[in-house]
């Protein structure tokens, strides 16, 4: 009988790691609190930098779950150390005794309504990056008329000490550029602005996408963070920022504003950390043994991490980390027991 391994979190990291562990001869038990597997990826329409459909990445993964026991709508009730094993109790009444637990609990999208000065949830024409993906995915037309000027606000809840998120969320810059190009395709007559603090085009082809956004799509980039948004009597928006490269404040009327909500630590992180007796990092994400050469292991024996549970990551980074977590678990289980 093959050995069980508990994987907590059924997003891309959890699914990919489970598949790899199964290929290595183990039986993963994958636990997901939502009704469906796929995490945030299941909600997304297209992926940067090439605009590949998210479902084309996710569907092959979901079609390949043979040999993986998975439970949706299920949460972890408790995790306890028993000799050299972990006893994981689930909300569905089942429990498992395993030598290795993989935490792939991911991130929570920053709640944009926390930045009250941007008016999300107050002004109708202020939406988030996730709302925009929902709209692209469902194909439903926007409810706003005369959309002629559209703005993207980078770093909403990222690099923001007041919001308790000092870290850069890493993926929003290129997501904003991708979404700006997509919105320009839907509203070719519209003027589209991106308000950024610093543009972090770190990945392969990201810089090309940024150049395309300027050359082909005519997106206007303004280096300055939006400081506040207000609404006029017709529901149109007034956006204030400083063009910091020019050194002048500006105020511009907009018909739609998209807030690039960043990545915050998953709400479950603190509770799970307490259960397995580890201390999360100062930023609230799980802290692995080393961010350089052992991103999947931690101080507690038999506990492993993969994906955005340890900080913002792209999908390819998450998938490759899931693979290396599977190998780290395999090596741990094959090493002689103390």
């Amino acid at each position: 009988m093959s050995q069980n391994i508990v994987v907590i979190g059924g997003g891309p990291a959890g699914i990919e790691a489970s598949r790899r562990l199964r290929d290595l001869g183990y039986t993963p038990i994958l636990i997901e609190k939502e009704p469906v597997l796929g995490g945030h990826l299941a909600r997304w329409d297209r992926l940067f930098p090439d605009g590949v459909e998210a479902r084309k990445v996710l569907e092959p993964m979901l079609a390949d779950l043979d040999g993986i026991k998975y439970f949706t709508d299920t949460e972890v009730s408790s995790i306890n150390r028993l000799k050299d094993t972990w006893v994981v109790k689930l909300s569905n009444g089942l429990s498992a005794q395993v030598r290795a637990v993989l935490l792939t609990t991911g991130f929570d999208l920053f709640k944009a309504e926390k930045k009250e000065e941007y008016g999300y949830g107050i002004y109708e024409r202020v939406i988030t990056n996730a709302d925009l993906e929902d709209w692209f995915k469902s194909g439903a037309a926007p409810q706003f008329d005369d959309v002629k000027v559209i703005g993207f606000v980078h770093c909403v809840g990222s690099r923001d000490e007041k919001a308790g998120n000092r870290q850069c969320s890493k993926v929003c810059c290129v997501t904003a550029v991708k979404q700006a190009c997509e919105i320009k395709e839907r509203f070719p007559e519209a003027t589209v602005y991106c308000f950024y603090m610093d543009l972090r085009m770190f990945g392969r082809k990201y810089e090309d996408l940024y150049l395309k956004a300027q050359k082909e799509c005519g997106i206007r980039f303004v280096r300055g963070r939006v400081s506040e948004v207000s609404e006029d009597i017709d529901g149109h928006l007034f956006v204030k920022a400083e063009d910091t490269l020019f050194g002048k404040p500006l105020k511009i009327k907009m018909d739609m504003l998209v807030l690039m909500a960043g990545m915050a630590p998953a709400a479950s992180t603190a509770e799970l950390a307490r259960m397995v007796n580890v201390l999360p990092g100062e930023d609230g994400f799980f802290l692995p043994h080393s961010l350089i050469d052992s991103p999947c292991t931690c101080a507690r024996e038999g506990i492993f991490y993969a994906g955005t549970a340890t900080g913002p990551k792209t999908i390819p980074e998450t998938l490759s980390e899931a693979a290396s977590a599977a190998l780290a678990i395999d090596r741990y289980l094959k090493s002689p027991q103390k």
């Binding site: 000490e161 603090m197 963070r225 400081s227 506040e228 920022a241 400083e242 404040p249």
Partner: protein
């Protein structure tokens, strides 16, 4: 560019190698958050004085870091300490304390603040 001393006008280049700033170090001691600034411009965008004058807290901080404190006085004298910059600063800088500290360290009390 080498300045041979024959020019009619002084060089307009920024001489960052000459910035040796004990005053900025003193300011940093009084208000350590001054180095948290990421020059996002939120303060300037919401500044009540910035619409009509050259006041820009973002530029004040940069000017001090570049050793150009003389340029900050004309800006800071328009500040009314209304505190809107503090409301919008994503780094949570106590801008009121920062501005008052600048006045103290750079001896601007009698002139501006």
């Amino acid at each position: 560019m080498i300045d041979f001393g024959y020019g009619l006008t002084p060089s307009a280049t920024l001489k960052i190698e000459k910035v040796d700033n004990p005053l900025f170090a003193e300011l940093h001691r009084l208000e350590p958050d001054v180095t948290k600034c990421i020059a996002c411009g939120s303060c300037t965008a919401s500044c009540s004085a910035g619409v009509f004058t050259e006041m820009s807290l973002r530029r004040v901080i940069l000017s001090l870091q570049r050793g150009r404190e003389k340029e900050t006085l004309p800006m800071l004298q328009h500040c009314m300490l209304c505190g809107k910059c503090q409301l919008v600063c994503p780094r949570g800088i106590n801008t009121r304390h920062l501005i008052l500290s600048i006045g103290k360290v750079y001896k601007m009390e009698d002139k501006a603040l």
